[in-house]
């Protein structure tokens, strides 16, 4: 990372277009401060630099040449969980979440990526190397991670860069999901054919979710294609401001999925789904041909709960009893990104024996923010503590959610707060219900 200060003039010369369209969008913020009510970071830090209004003011100040893009600017731009609560709240319709990503983009252009991110993203850009690294992590994981006496939980045996030593994560899978299944999972006279975008967490870590997705689709007589060459959706890279790298991954995924004749693309993660439905299209806003291709696939992309309820319209009579008291956490990208909150609840409530209890502020960010919690563990813990308190108040024994990093962060929070609730994906409970139904 360079320490030299970069002035607005320098960026202006570097990328005039970026500046021009930001200026208009930023001017629309009337500084009313309504974003303060809903920003989880502001609630913990209590300073203007933490909230959208302040961050947009900093970007305006950079554009007008009042302040340089400094290490501090970079730091404050990074202090955002991208939960979109400010954008939903804004009376002027300012898309603050996206603008902050643009601010990060400017910082990346001016100062370069953080060395750790730079290293990880380089690895991520190379699909083969990335796959190998994570498979090795799965094979050698037990050497460096100690499993905890609860499902899908482990702590590091040695200090690791970017990982707090107390932090509970999930073990890498010994064998990734995509290695366990053929590329095409046939069905007898299938009524539909779907492409399954697994995303990284489901492929390398939460293979239990991927298995549940496959089993539920099979139970509904749907043919599944899991394209072998698919790769990370790029959201973590996009959110960090490395737009060019995000475009590479988006293009790769679009090209891979275009080769298969599928009726729908499904994903079991709010962020991955959002990438396909929204980000890919936005990334190619200045490339009409790619944009059209992205749009075509975006239209047939569904999050799994949304797909089962809205498209498949599953037969709920096939579900057997699951005895659990379940509360639900809405991941930010489900609630405010793709706006899917009713369907997962509908699925859970249709399971016999399952008692559903709504928690307070179910759609408030859990503090994970995808990779945000890696660089801001203490802060993400504080946000998470509020979530854990809301979970505990429901007296539920199970927390259902639809995002891998939320699941990991909530599991960590429960362990840190001496709680023992189970954290699962919505689809795992549905899978259990299908299996219980078959036993009937």
């Amino acid at each position: 990372m360079s320490d030299k200060l970069v002035t607005a003039q320098a960026i202006n010369e570097h990328d005039k277009e970026l500046l021009a369209d930001l200026q208009d969008a930023l001017a629309n913020c009337m500084k009313c401060g309504n974003c303060m009510e809903v920003c989880p970071i502001y609630k913990e830090l209590g300073t203007e630099t933490a909230v959208a209004r302040g961050k947009l003011a900093l970007m305006e100040a950079v554009l007008s040449g009042k302040i340089p893009i400094s290490e501090n600017f970079d730091k404050w731009m990074s202090k955002c969980v991208s939960c979109k609560a400010c954008t939903v709240k804004c009376p002027c319709g300012v898309p603050a979440d996206g603008l902050i990503v643009r601010g990060r983009q400017a910082a990346v252009k001016a100062r370069g990526l953080h060395p750790v991110k730079n290293y990880v993203f380089k690895l991520l850009k190379n699909r083969t190397m990335f796959d190998l690294a994570l498979r090795l992590a799965g094979l050698f994981g037990p050497l460096s991670f100690k499993k905890l006496p609860r499902p899908m939980a482990a702590v590091a045996r040695f200090p690791m860069p970017g990982l707090d030593k107390r932090r509970v994560t999930a073990p890498f899978a010994a064998s990734p999901l995509r290695n366990r299944h053929p590329e095409v999972i046939k069905a007898d006279k299938p009524k539909l054919k779907v492409g399954f975008f697994t995303g990284c967490t489901i492929n390398y870590i939460y293979t239990d979710v991927g298995q549940a997705v496959i089993d539920v689709l099979k139970a509904n007589n749907i043919e599944i294609v899991i394209p072998a060459l698919q790769h990370c959706c790029g959201t973590p890279i996009y959110m960090s401001g490395d737009v060019e790298a995000a475009k590479l991954l988006a293009k790769h995924n679009i090209e891979v999925f275009e080769q298969y004749k599928v009726d729908y693309i499904i994903a079991a993660c709010g962020s991955c789904t959002e990438a396909w439905k929204i980000e890919f299209v936005e990334l190619f806003h200045d490339d009409p041909a790619m944009k059209a291709r992205a749009e075509k696939l975006a239209q047939k992309t569904y999050e799994i709960s949304e797909f089962l309820v809205d498209v498949v319209k599953i037969d709920k009579n096939k579900l057997g009893p699951v005895n659990a008291t379940v509360t639900m956490h809405d991941p930010c990208h489900m609630a405010r990104g793709i706006k899917v909150t009713a369907q997962p609840r509908q699925l859970l409530k249709s399971i016999p024996g399952l008692q559903f209890v709504e928690m307070k502020e179910a759609d408030r960010c859990c503090g994970s923010g995808g990779s945000f919690s890696l660089g801001n563990y203490e802060l993400s813990r504080k946000i998470n503590d509020r979530k854990i308190a809301n979970i505990t108040a429901t007296k539920a024994d199970t927390v259902a959610t639809s995002c891998g990093t939320c699941r990991m962060h909530i599991t960590d929070g429960l362990v840190q707060n001496n709680q023992n609730q189970d954290v699962v994906h919505v689809i795992q409970l549905l899978d259990k219900a299908y299996k219980a139904g078959q036993k009937k």
């Binding site: 009313c32 401060g33 303060m36 009510e37 209590g46 203007e48 003011a57 900093l58 009042k66 009376p91």
Partner: protein, 460 residues
């Protein structure tokens, strides 16, 4: 500011509560008022009255300006640090100290968010009535200092009607207590009222005793549409003349109606000259009776359409239009000035007509909505502050709006305060004698002129 002062501040509150980076300072250079921005030298976040006292003593000796600030949602540039110095950020002092259900009072620290107080007293069947539009963000200290109002002002009044006592740190760092829990208290000057609405120019509020009232058991909402503005004006007067004081009596003018309809599609007729929204609250039987009476008065005053909400869902639907007023106007253009010129309620139609005339004259976009029942109008000017030529017209229109309000026997501010935004009109409203009396008070309490200098009463 000298380094020794910054070091001294760090000793008082701790290093992490003194902000000096250019990024932090820039983020405290503004509030919610467009067109005003100035960098402070330092931002300090005290946690106790004792810390505030030490900070003020230091500032007073060093003649350093101090700008006390909460969430910075104010609309008159009252917290912009125009002369540099210290921004005193009170958000760490956010405790709810006491809810006294026997005396119906609450004691709070200034950094508490207003709606957090309301959430806490709700459990006891009580409310704290002042409800500015920013109720979920604004701090108690800020709303007391700005004497904030809100939608319920007609029946319940503004903040000053609920402040019973204060702990204030004076400019020299001494701590003063005024008022308290006594419902009847006529001893001495009313210092509590003096510091309420003083916009941080006389002292720093560190503790507030407020009055709570029983929550209304029932409420009913009505909407009336008028093709003729004068009929709406007559209806407002007639409702009050019928001895009904609604909790809320709101008006939207034609430019606002058209904008709201265009944006939110709530089914308002775009040719209507005014929409009135009325809510009565209280004991169920009385609410029923009052709602019926309001309905009768509206019809008698030639309302073209009257709707009465039967349940909560219908009530929400009616209020959706009013809630959309500011967002709809704000989305038209990048810059939004929400003014709060206020007139006696029988002059509301005259004021609206004058504002619309001014908008035409200077070719600027103004929508007017607001609290018709108490005459508190919100002429909302939308423009682009980057367009110099347009801004000249906007500022001329603004001058005319405020002089019209004063001519109609009104006041510069119904709830947003004076700050810097309306400073230049103060003499027009008060005349030299009153303004000089106000300046004498300022000079007596803050001889070194360190507290929010240049605001409210101007240079002293």
């Amino acid at each position: 500011m000298e380094k020794q002062h910054i070091d001294a501040l760090k000793t008082i509150v701790g290093d992490e509560h003194v902000l000096t980076s250019v990024e932090d300072l820039h983020c405290y250079s503004y509030d919610a008022t467009p067109g005003f921005s100035h960098m402070p030298d330092v931002v300090v976040k005290p946690a106790t009255t004792a810390e505030v006292a030490k900070i003020l003593a230091l500032a007073n000796t060093g003649k350093i300006p101090v700008y006390t600030r909460g969430s910075g949602t104010n609309l008159s540039a009252g917290t912009v640090p125009t002369k540099g110095g210290i921004v005193l950020l009170m958000t760490r002092m956010d405790k709810l100290i006491e809810i006294d259900t026997e005396n119906l009072v609450a004691v709070v620290e200034p950094g508490l968010i207003v709606s957090d107080l309301n959430k806490a007293v709700e459990a006891y069947g009580l409310i704290y009535p002042p409800d500015p539009g920013t109720v979920t963000t604004a701090t108690m200290g800020g709303t007391v200092s700005e004497n904030a109002g809100g939608l319920r002002g007609l029946k319940y009044g503004v903040t000053k009607h609920y402040v019973m006592g204060l702990e204030v740190v004076l400019a020299n760092g001494q701590v003063m207590n005024v008022g308290g829990k006594n419902v009847k208290d006529v001893s001495g000057y009313d210092m509590t009222k003096l510091f309420t609405g003083a916009e941080g120019t006389l002292g720093v509020i560190t503790r507030i005793v407020v009055k709570l009232v029983p929550a209304p058991e029932a409420r009913k909402s009505l909407m009336a549409i008028f093709k003729n503005l004068d009929h709406a004006g007559q209806a407002i007067a007639a409702i009050i003349a019928a001895k009904i004081i609604p909790a809320t009596l709101e008006i939207m003018d034609n430019p606002t109606i058209r904008t709201v309809e265009d944006y939110a599609k709530v089914g308002l007729p775009v040719d209507a000259e005014a929409v009135l929204l009325i809510e009565v609250d209280g004991i169920p039987e009385v609410v029923e009776k009052e709602a019926a009476k309001v309905m009768e008065v509206l019809t008698a005053n030639q309302a073209d359409e009257v709707k009465l909400a039967k349940d909560a869902a219908e009530r929400d639907k009616l209020w959706a239009a009013r809630r959309a007023a500011l967002p709809a106007l704000a989305k038209l253009r990048p810059t939004t000035f929400v003014e709060d010129a206020t007139v006696p309620r029988n002059k509301v139609p005259d004021m609206i007509r004058a504002v619309n005339e001014t908008a035409r004259k200077y070719n600027v976009t103004i929508g007017t909505f607001g609290h018709a029942g108490d005459g508190n109008m919100h002429p909302t000017i939308v423009c682009d502050i980057r367009d110099k030529e347009e801004m000249e017209r906007v500022y001329k229109a603004m001058d005319e709006i405020f002089s019209t309000a004063i001519k109609l026997g009104g006041t510069l501010s119904g709830e947003h305060g004076i700050g810097l935004g309306k400073l230049k009109y103060m003499e027009d409203q008060f005349g030299p004698v009153t303004l000089e009396a106000m300046k004498s008070i300022k000079r007596a309490l803050d001889p070194n002129l360190i507290l929010n200098p240049g605001k409210l009463v101007g240079e002293c």
